[in-house]
């Protein structure tokens, strides 16, 4: 069973220009768009991003989706698509949005492509603005200590808050845990 928790915060910016997209069926799909880093029309790009994902209804492959994004979105767009499959996760990222996986007491950046998952593995997907205030060791420790995805997220937010009191740009993240 996959458990997830999303977090969106405007920070000290006027608007929330990122986009966090979630689809539960047929497979859990998580998509993050780092709009706050775009100089031109971030809102419309974020909207276009979620419209493309809405229209595909979870049936298109990640490669196909990424080619559509490359065609339709601004060339400086930064995004991540992650799809949880039966025995693993498929991931595609571009720019400063990435996923980190906690596995066997260690943390790694999730590479583009397919990656096998086991029970107990945890994944955090976030923009580089979210990671800016965190260390890998802190993310790892919180993943190992927390009992749920919301606990994990709250611990990460406490770490970010300790450094900037959330007076930073947009913060967008999703935590996922694979439970029995």
């Amino acid at each position: 069973m996959i458990e997830y928790y999303t977090f969106k915060h405007r920070g000290d910016a006027l608007d929330f220009s990122d986009e966090v997209f979630l689809r539960l069926v047929p497979n859990l799909t998580v998509a993050l768009f780092f709009g706050s880093n775009l100089k031109i029309a971030p809102k419309s790009q974020a909207l276009l991003f979620s419209e493309i994902l809405n229209s595909e209804e979870g049936c298109k492959s990640i490669e196909y989706l990424s080619s559509v994004f490359d065609e339709c979105l601004d060339e400086e767009s930064e995004y991540l698509i992650l799809r949880v499959l039966k025995n693993g996760v498929e991931c595609y990222r571009r720019g400063g949005v990435f996923a980190k996986i906690v596995k066997d007491g260690q943390i790694h950046v999730l590479p583009n492509g397919f990656f096998g998952l086991n029970v107990g593995d945890s994944i955090v997907c976030a923009t580089s603005n979210f990671y800016k205030y965190l260390t890998d060791e802190g993310i790892l420790a919180d993943a190992l200590v927390s009992g749920s995805c919301s606990d994990w997220m709250n611990m990460l937010i406490r770490r970010i808050s300790d450094q900037c009191q959330l007076k930073c740009g947009n913060l967008s993240a999703v935590t996922l845990k694979l439970n029995e």
Binding site: F7, D12, E137, A141, L144, V145, S161
Partner: protein, 298 residues
């Protein structure tokens, strides 16, 4: 100037022979040294994973400006590391309450009694700590309490347990990270503020921010623990200490104060003098156990 023509032929011959022998010996020495160095490097690279990570341990335990010592530390017997791992704990008696030193000492003594702990039985170990807390509650009914941070290291794996706001710090690649989350009201306020979409400046200004939401002495306390162990690396430094250390020496200053090639006693000395040199007029008791991980054949 020397004129070798004046020397007898035998002596000149002997000198030449000595020179040739010296040259051979020198070349052999260089060749053997290089060969050994290359072999050792290749061997340690090849067997890096098989070589054990062993902890080098040191501690300091200082009173600061306080009249009494309310911190208490426990380090498990070093000769039992191979069988039962290393357990290091620090308990800090809660300021403003009576019997702080009694409770913190009771906590570390109880840990000593319960040693050895099973490494993979994190929930059972947390239950032991919770039991110690319940006992303190029965004796003092919230009129006394203490914090507790404890690490359990077995080979290259680390489990940790925490109650309250003491510190477990990991220094890796010259960067310090607090591993445990502080169980205080600030955490609750930060959660509320972030969910409400506002910044958290006021959470830190609140006079209750540093008040503990859980501690040893609370009934049925919630022990923070790793459900799975964390993998340690060569040259990792773990600091298990009271907040008296970090109040005077923030994390980035600790990391900047020590060198990666120092051993545990050297690091302990540097941090101790770092706290002392901050000359905090209200310096709390400050204690810490320093553990430096080193890969070794032994």
């Amino acid at each position: 100037m020397y004129d070798f023509d004046l020397l007898p032929d035998d002596t000149v011959f002997a000198l030449y022979v000595a020179l040739v022998l010296f040259a051979i010996a020198f070349v052999s020495f260089v060749a053997i040294s290089l060969y050994t160095l290359i072999k050792m490097t290749v061997y340690s690279k090849k067997h890096e994973d098989k070589l054990k990570l062993t902890p080098d341990v040191a501690f300091f335990h200082e009173r600061g400006k306080r009249g009494n010592q309310e911190d208490s530390v426990y380090i498990s017997p070093l000769e039992k590391i191979e069988d039962s791992g290393l357990v290091a704990a620090c308990s800090d008696g809660m300021g403003g309450l009576l019997n702080g030193e009694v409770v913190s000492k009771y906590v570390t003594d109880s840990l000593k009694e319960n040693y050895p702990f099973k490494f993979d039985a994190q929930a059972d170990n947390a239950k032991i700590i919770s039991g110690i807390s319940d006992k303190v509650y029965e004796d003092f009914h919230l009129s006394a309490g203490a914090t507790l941070v404890m690490v359990h290291i077995s080979d290259d794996l680390l489990n940790f347990y925490s109650l309250g706001d003491s510190n477990i710090i990991l220094i890796r690649n010259n960067r310090a990270t607090l591993l445990n989350n502080k169980q205080n009201y600030a955490s609750i306020m930060i959660k509320k503020f972030s969910e409400g979409g506002i910044d958290t400046v006021d959470a830190y200004k609140d006079p209750r921010a540093r008040g503990l939401t859980d501690f040893v002495g609370n009934f049925k306390c919630n022990v923070q623990m790793t459900s799975k162990p964390m993998k340690l690396r060569d040259n990792d430094i773990i600091i298990v200490g009271s907040d008296g250390v970090t109040d005077s020496m923030p994390l980035n200053r600790i990391a900047g104060h020590i060198h990666s090639d120092q051993n545990a006693p050297g690091i302990a000395r540097m941090i101790k003098y770092g706290v002392k040199s901050s000359k905090n007029p209200r310096q709390d008791n400050y204690s810490a156990i320093i553990i430096k991980m080193r890969r070794s054949i032994v």
